[in-house]
Symmetry: C2
Subunit: 340 residues, 2 copies
């Protein structure tokens, strides 16, 4: 972040026709956007593109979710038909939707809006060894970087993370444990909704995955390979790609949060481009946000994924930039200031 | 709210292609919108209009704020020029801005976007007696009802509350005390930002106002007249007017919250149309929201007023309705459901 521009943006916030500090967190967001862009006021982060990275998970065989694995591919179809929540919210806020197959088990027919970047037909069951090879993790990561680059080349000025992958909160919990040191009982959540027995089992599965894969968080690629999903690795690359281009990356829930932990471990500067769209009800997401020092913009107990929470926050991010661009200063507007 | 439609909306939320409950608070919002409209799915609440009710306050003479009273009129001018935060955020989310003079001290030249509905040149100092006569409070209330009716007649499908009035958090705190029973020390905030000494003085002013005006909260008009501002009374009418037309009313901060307490005391059913856009950092606002049973959509420490917090929440309200309209069901999309 450009420190001179950060200072300029803070100064402008204090001269605009409103009490200093009265826009709360929105002021911090606007300052970060300016520092990221290297100019004050910053460009409004629009148009925005949500990339939904889809993958399957070998750990699904361990019975961590009541949803059949085929739902991943079915939901990809639903995204491409425009019938899912991510589509509805993207339409409402004016964002485009791109689906990226990084690791769906089944074959997906070519379609407009689908980027075929399949690295593998799902990951391996990480309770028995690494989920991916190091090469697979790197390939997915590079795929994410390329998607970010292509979306920005196409004119997008904001990247929004999305994900789809039945069972993908299980690797997310494992990644949160590896990068934050949290115990699986604290980092594991109920995902799309599991009963008490399945939840206890899921915690045990995460614990066994960590035992089967002794990772070093200082080796983020190795950690992603052992404990991640293909969409988690791709999302880490997506964050890095956006940050390298100084484009804001609006993060969705625990999948993006766990990927951002990996991205920050690879390149701490990438966090300067990251904005936490929301806090999901997955406990591992709060652990990730705390570890990253990110404050969520929306906190409404969503636990869907797809990019839904981040899309809700998109107008707030855009509004923060718009305020810094459009609002008159006391001098310009001829408005009196407070007595000292 | 139409209970049959509420049921229909809940059922539809459970059949859409997402885990049941996974949209958290957004599902509740969508159900309330359906029940309010009497149809499922409900219309998307757009276009939206923010009405900024402006007034001055006799209690300003007690030194409750460092801002000169003339700033109220200067900011009205700023709104009409499009240079304030409310204008910037309204542009970002596609809402129209209307300013309503219900009680500014000075004369305001006629201008496009300004509705002249002046009831008085500010209120009286309520530490020495009632802020308004009962007739003035009723006239302001009726003015607010009419503004709601006119904006809906003009095609708006969502009403957003806004306010401007130097010193207006002081009467808001007094109203919160009267309607919730809270002590002034808990209900009073720092408004646009006052130092410790001024804050202590402000608490004392609220306490003296309550002592000078023994009100009965079961007489909400009398309470508004004694302790309110003209914009608070008008906003209570705006809420009632929107609710009567079954149009959602998106509430901003503590000024709207205190007005909603009065509106709910007049007609409890009006709450069915109310959505809390945000939680401001004014402590009285949280007391009002708790008393009303409203959960804020955005919670980012804003304390500006003007309608800024509510405008940030507008896309969330619209997104909630959009989801219920657009998202495919499991049956329609051919997506498998979870195993029982």
């Amino acid at each position: 972040l450009d420190t001179r521009v950060l200072e300029e943006a803070r100064d402008r916030q204090d001269r605009m026709t409103k009490p200093p500090g009265s826009l709360g967190v929105l002021e911090d967001i606007s300052v970060q956007l300016a520092g990221l862009a290297g100019e004050c006021p910053p460009p409004i982060p629009e148009p925005a593109a949500v990339a939904v990275f889809a993958g399957d998970h070998g750990v699904h065989a361990q019975g961590v979710t009541p949803w059949p694995q085929e739902v991943t591919a079915q939901m990809v179809h639903n995204f491409l038909e425009g019938g899912a929540v991510v589509n509805a919210l993207a339409r409402q806020v004016g964002a485009g939707v791109t689906v990226v197959d990084v690791g769906v088990v089944g074959d997906l027919p070519g379609a407009a809006g689908l980027l075929p970047r399949k690295v593998a037909r799902g990951t391996a069951d990480f309770t028995r060894g690494p989920a991916m090879t190091r090469e697979q993790a790197l390939q997915a990561l590079e795929g994410g970087i390329e998607v970010a680059r292509d979306l920005v080349s196409a004119g997008n000025r904001c990247l929004v993370t999305g994900d789809m992958g039945i069972a993908n909160t299980t690797p997310a919990a494992a990644l949160v444990c590896a990068f934050t040191g949290a115990d699986p009982a604290r980092a594991t959540g109920r995902g799309t909704g599991v009963d008490d027995a399945t939840f206890e089992h899921k915690v045990d599965v995460v614990r066994r995955a960590l035992a089967a894969n002794p990772v070093d968080p200082a080796d983020p690629i190795g950690t992603l390979a052992a404990l991640g999903g293909l969409e988690h690795a791709a999302l880490a690359g997506f964050v890095l790609g956006g940050a390298a281009l100084r484009v804001p990356v609006l993060l969705d829930g625990v999948i993006a949060g766990s990927a951002a932990l990996a991205a920050a471990a690879i390149s701490p500067e990438a966090l300067g481009a990251c904005f936490a769209g929301h806090r999901s009800s997955e406990p591992g997401h709060s652990l990730a946000l705390d570890h990253l020092g990110l404050r969520p913009l929306v906190d409404l107990e969503l636990r869907l994924g797809e990019g839904s929470g981040a899309l809700l926050a998109l107008p707030l991010l855009q509004g923060a930039a718009r305020v810094l661009r459009d609002v008159a200063t006391f001098d310009d507007a001829g408005v009196s200031t407070a007595h000292a």
